[in-house]
């Protein structure tokens, strides 16, 4: 069976503009969530988010590029650049045709929709920029990555709300394992922190106005984030032959559908997906020392997720660590699983477990070791990354230490 390893990683998110800065923030349990700085923020009732700060696209992209790159595409290209630099890969000839890009995003070019709706509805203009469509389409980021690095194999974008990145990375894994590709650029991106993007979430009444406190009894909702993370998935023998540094191995993936409710999570569905990922990875339950939780900080998700972990792991649920880094970088919606995979790789590679910050009061319905408030050192052989999306679409990845 072909094995799949990770040979590059890159990110930009509220915790940092690259991987070292992000991991340092996670180790220190630093919070990247703060007051939102965006147009018409005074008309929002939710005014916090994990926004990428100190970011000036004009210093990174030229005028023609800015005209084509929505913020979610910009984030993707920044993260992809870091990942590909780290992997040390260039794509030509057969490798180019055997390599592709699969990226997750829920909203795609939300800022482009927002700005152009303003223009035609609010300002009454009858003309928009000619590149609105190629800028806002969900696959724009994947396409620009393919163009920038000459990736000519299977390439597409995945939209499954909060599970988009995990689905994307799971599919990238399967494409390599199944022999369809040798290298896949994968991960996800989201840039939904615009007036319309926040207003839409506000309507659902599941957002916190002060902080994201996953698993804490006094949690009161989720907080949006933005950014991207991109990884290089590579067939193991290919990576070994060229002497690439291997960050971790992707060993399993499972995806399921609850077929039940458009917003409420399902314990049975989540548990079934976790068990499926373990089986696909041929992992024993007791080999898993860490789970990066979906952990949104809503009342329903955290309760259901803890019950699902307890169900899938039995007694071992009390031995493992489970943390939600959304407490620090916010919920990146379609990009969240990608940023959270950074915490999984840190656990496997560096032996550091990112904490769940903002944890104030134990909740008997979330009675697992949630690594409250402070990072911890531990040797981790294998870990999982959970994503349970609105619409009941679940995706769980299983990783192991580098072979």
């Amino acid at each position: 069976m072909r094995r799949v390893v990770i040979t590059g990683q890159g990110t930009i998110n509220a915790l940092g503009h690259d991987v070292p800065a992000t991991l340092e923030a996670m180790r220190e349990g630093r919070c990247g969530i703060g007051e939102l700085d965006l147009r018409d923020v005074e008309r929002l009732s939710v005014r916090i988010g994990g926004q990428v700060k100190g970011y000036d696209p004009d210093t990174l992209f030229n005028r023609q590029q800015i005209a084509l790159y929505d913020r979610f595409t910009q984030f993707t290209l920044i993260a992809a650049h870091q990942a590909l630099d780290g992997a040390g890969l260039t794509f030509a000839g057969e490798l180019a045709t055997r390599s592709g890009v699969v990226l997750g995003t829920a909203g795609g070019g939300v800022n482009t929709w927002d700005e152009n709706y303003r223009s035609v509805y609010e300002e009454g203009k009858n003309r928009v920029h000619p590149f609105v469509v190629p800028k806002l389409m969900n696959n724009a980021a994947a396409s620009h990555v393919s163009m920038e690095w000459n990736l000519k194999g299977p390439s597409f974008s995945v939209a499954t709300a909060c599970a988009s990145s995990n689905h994307a990375m799971g599919l990238a894994f399967q494409l390599i394992r199944g022999g369809v590709a040798d290298v896949m650029v994968t991960g996800g991106s989201e840039a939904m922190l615009s007036f319309g993007g926040v207003k839409a979430w506000e309507g659902l009444r599941v957002m916190s106005k002060d902080a994201c406190r996953p698993f804490s009894a006094n949690r009161n909702g989720m907080v949006q984030g933005e950014g991207a993370a991109v990884f290089i998935f590579e067939e193991y023998e290919h990576a070994k032959k060229r002497g690439a540094e291997i960050l971790a191995e992707v060993v399993g993936f499972a995806m399921t559908s609850d077929a039940a409710d458009i917003v409420m999570p399902s314990e049975q569905g989540a548990s079934r997906t976790i068990a499926g990922a373990l089986k696909d990875a041929r992992l024993n339950r007791d080999e898993v020392a860490y789970i990066n939780a979906h952990g949104t900080g809503t009342a329903a998700n955290d309760r259901v997720e803890c019950a699902a972990v307890a169900d899938a792991f039995g007694h071992h649920a009390n031995e493992l660590m489970i943390s939600s880094t959304k407490s620090m970088h916010g919920h990146l919606i379609g990009g969240t699983g990608a940023v959270e995979l950074l915490a999984c790789i840190m656990a496997l590679k560096d032996g550091v477990i990112a904490p769940t910050i903002g944890y104030e009061e134990p909740d008997p319905e979330c009675a697992l070791d949630v690594v409250p408030n402070e990072a911890r050192e531990a040797r981790v052989e294998a870990c999982l990354s959970n994503a349970f999306a609105f619409g009941g679409l679940n995706a769980v990845l299983a990783l192991r230490r580098a072979p």
Binding site: S45, G203, L204, R205, V206, M207, S208, R219, N220, G221, I262, V263, M264, T298, A299, A300
Partner: protein, 99 residues
């Protein structure tokens, strides 16, 4: 009865009728079948139905309803029964619209 109290009565009847109308629509019932002591659960209204009802109330009365689905019991808006919701809407109207 003075004109003021008559206006008061008719206004609060309107509030009650409007709220019941919103709840009845959500529950797919006739307004006459929505009793004051019924809970939303009794009426078969789930969490999404509740959020949609609150939105309809905000739109109908032009008020802001303080409600977080993560902690309904901590929200300042009492949803324990139809009567409680009507009273809460009247309270918010007095607060936000000066009576």
């Amino acid at each position: 009865m003075t004109p003021e109290t008559r206006r008061g009565v008719s206004m609060s009847e309107t509030v009650r009728d409007k709220v019941i109308g919103i709840i009845a629509e959500q529950a797919v019932l006739e307004p006459g079948d929505v009793t004051m002591e019924a809970t939303l659960e009794d009426l078969g209204i789930d969490s999404l139905g509740l959020v949609e009802s609150i939105f309809a109330i905000e739109e109908a009365f032009d008020i802001q309803v303080p409600f977080n689905a993560n902690a309904p019991e901590d929200s300042a808006f009492d949803i324990s029964s139809v009567a409680a919701i009507i009273a809460a809407v009247e309270g918010l109207l007095a607060e936000q619209k000066g009576g």
